[in-house]
Structure formats: C-alpha cells, structure tokens
Amino acid sequence: MLARRIIPCLDVRDGKVVKGVKFRNHEIIGDIVPLAEQYAQQGADELVFYDITASSDQRVVDKSWVSRIAQVIDIPFCVAGGIKSVEDAGRILEMGADKISVNSPALADPELITRLHDTYGQQCVVIGIDSYFNKQSQQFEVYQFTGDEKRTQNTGRLTVDWVKEVQQRGAGEIVLNCMNQDGVRQGYDIAQLRLVRDACTVPLIASGGAGEKHHFYDVFKQADVDGALAASVFHKGIIPIPELKDFLRAQGVVIREDFVPTTS
C-alpha cells in the first residue's frame, strides 16, 4: 500500500531555516543540514526546502546548500523558490534535488511548466499554489510573490482553474498552501482541499494550518490528500514526528514503517 506522506517544510533564507506567521515576521530556527538530517532520522517521508526570498528579490541566490543536503540525506527532497527557467531547474536537479517546485514564475509564464515537463519529466515538476479565500468574491483565488509582503498580489486566477491548467501543462504534483490557515495552527483547510482534490489527478500535498496530531488525520481522512506538509509544529517540537506517525497508524492511516533488517 502506498503510504501517506509526512513532509516537514524548511523555509530557507540566507542559508538558515526560518519560520514566520502568515508568511511574515521570520525568526531563525537553525542550520539547514543538521535540521534536515534530524528530520530524516525521525521518519520524515520527504522534505521541502523553500527559499522564501528568492522569487521576490530578483537576485541570484546561492543554492550550494542543495548539494550539501543531497550528500547526507537519503529521503526525497524538493527545492522551491527562485526557479524561473529550465536552466535554473537543471542546476538544482544536478545538485541532487529530486524535485523542483515552481510558484510565481509559473504564473508569469505558464509555458514554463511544459518546458520543465519535457526536459526533466513530470515526476520532478511540482507546482506550489498560494491560495486565499476572498470574502468579497466568496472564491478561492491564487496569489503570487507571497514571500514579500509589499509585492504580494492577487493574480485574478481562481484556484481550481489554475489547478486544472497546471496539470494539463505537465505538473507531477501540487502543493496547495492555504494562506488563510498558514502558521495559525488551527487545522488544514479541509473544505478547500476537498474542492481541489476533486480537480486533481496528480498527487496533492496539503500545506498550512497543522497544529495538532488530529489535524493530520482529518486532512488524510476527509480531504484524501497524498501528503501533509507542516513547518512550525515540527520546528518547535510541538509534534514529534515518531509520535505523529504512531498516532496516525493507530487511526488506520497507512504510514511508512521504519526499516528493521532481518538477521538471518
């Protein structure tokens, strides 16, 4: 049976892992490589490294840390942030990342998704979508440049429409960041994730809102997502990963068992 994935997300700025609330006010959590190693040892199924300043800064970002992570980590990992071209993606994949995640640049140039698909294959093309519930229009809408408060803007796209388009263009996985829930630890946005799940035939990863163990159970059970991404509950030690996985197994969720070699 395919297991549901638990995915710690490490927001990276200037080579350090940071965490903000609702994408703002970042505080430093620690160094990337030891944190990544620690999560892999604790049973994380996958890691996402998100360079939060890259897309909004318009600068070339030092990504040499990708290679340092690839040397020590033996679980899959995805790098997001500042990937604007096929060449940018190629460099990250050559350094040892398994997937690259594209958000704002795909909105500016949707054709980029197709080029990434045709060059590196669907399996490594992840599309991140920052989605916000607009109370005025009563719709879920896509936002861009969410790494920088001054530049964050509504794209005018409806989330479900964009979800369908990125799949047609060759996305292999979608990470849905539910902005209303991000960092406030009140639970994943089940209603929105269910809506997107119905429009999504590739793996779907829930992001934003995890605060308690049962939030993970709820999102797997009620929104049928393939993975659940979280940051602060792991960084702050609120939910230890082994405890979370034991809890989910006890609730009947299919979760990867630790490898125990036979000694015959």
Binding site: M1, L2, A3, R4, R5, A40, D45, E46, S67, A70, Q71, D74, I75, P76, G90, L93, E94, M95, G96, A97, D98, D118, T119, Y120, G121, Q122, Q123, C124, G172, E173, C200, T201, V202, P203, L204, D226, G227, R256, E257, F259, V260, P261, T262, T263, S264
Partner: protein, 209 residues
Amino acid sequence: MSVLSSSQHTVIINTGCANISSVKFALQRLTQNVTVSDDPKVICAADKLILPGVGSANSAMESIEKKQLASCIQSLAQPVLGVCLGMQLMVTDSQEKAHQSDLGNTPCLNLIPGQVKRMQVGDLRLPHMGWNTVEAVEQTSLFKGIPQGTYFYFVHSFAVEVYSHTLASSQYDMPFSAAIHRDNFYGVQFHPERSGDAGATLLENFLNL
C-alpha cells in the same frame, strides 16, 4: 554499514539525465571508488555498474544512441543495476514516447525481455509517487536482510507487469514489478538512493554481488 572493498570500482553510466548526483552520493556513502562516465572503456572496466535515469524513455534512449553506448551496455557481463527509468530501459520496449508522437513504442536496450506500459490505476493518482511496500518473489541476494513489506520510494507512471523475470513486486491498484532480473542485469523501479536505510541495504547488497 560495512565498508566494502576499496579496490572495487563502481561506475554510474552517464545517460545524460540531469539528476545523477543523488545516486552518486548514495553510493559514496557505501563505497569509495565511484565514477560517473559515458566512456565505453571506463564502463567496460567497471566491477559494478549503475544505469540511472529520470525523464522519459524516448529522450533517455536518444541520449544513449547519441553517446553510442547501447552496444557497450548490451555487452556487459558484470552486475548492472538499473534504477527507475534505468530499469525500464533494460527491457525490450516502452509505451512511453515523445509528446504527441505518432511513432510506435520506444525500443529499449533489450537486456531483459519485457515491456513497459502506462499504469492503469483507476481512480488513484499518477504519477505513483511516495513510499510503497515491496514483496520479494523469492529470497535473493539483492533483497538480503530486507523483510517482506519493506517500504521503498517510488516515482513513476509507467511500469513492467509481474512476469517470469520479476524479482519483487509491488501494488498500486494493479500489481507491477518492483524489481526485475536476468543474468547479470538487475533493475529496480523504486529509488534505492532515496529509500533511507532500506535503500542503502539494497545498494550494499548489489555492491556485494
């Protein structure tokens, strides 16, 4: 993890795909002498070979043809491990072809009989992505110390069905080959380099063949 003989030379065949690094790093965690090469002389002189691959069967085969490596790989007698797309390149042909191409199936290296087909998974998602359990068909040296039902990491939409060359199987709506074998050629559909300690054990078993 035991330290392997430092005199053994492992070569990763450079098929022209972008992400060979993760395979290289995984091997370097187990053995000292690892080279990435597309030089037939270096490839033929290796003790163990890895045939990696991501992307699509047609682009990988094009790259292999361009580098004139097909006959070199077909002539190898030492143990070769194909990983993911690398495994799929080992069989006779693949249904995976260039986007909007009218051509037939993509001919592969034909090291092991068999055909790669698009997975039929009903309402489940494709790509088949994540950790899934693997059942070895019989106790073999490649899966030594690896219990039935061990989780490995998969990312793929095409697969080889379960047949006479299946070494291990997995299930995703349909059963499929998680590992195949003929003579000196071994292939795994999952990514051992990204499968934690289970993957490291499998790679070590391969290096110890």
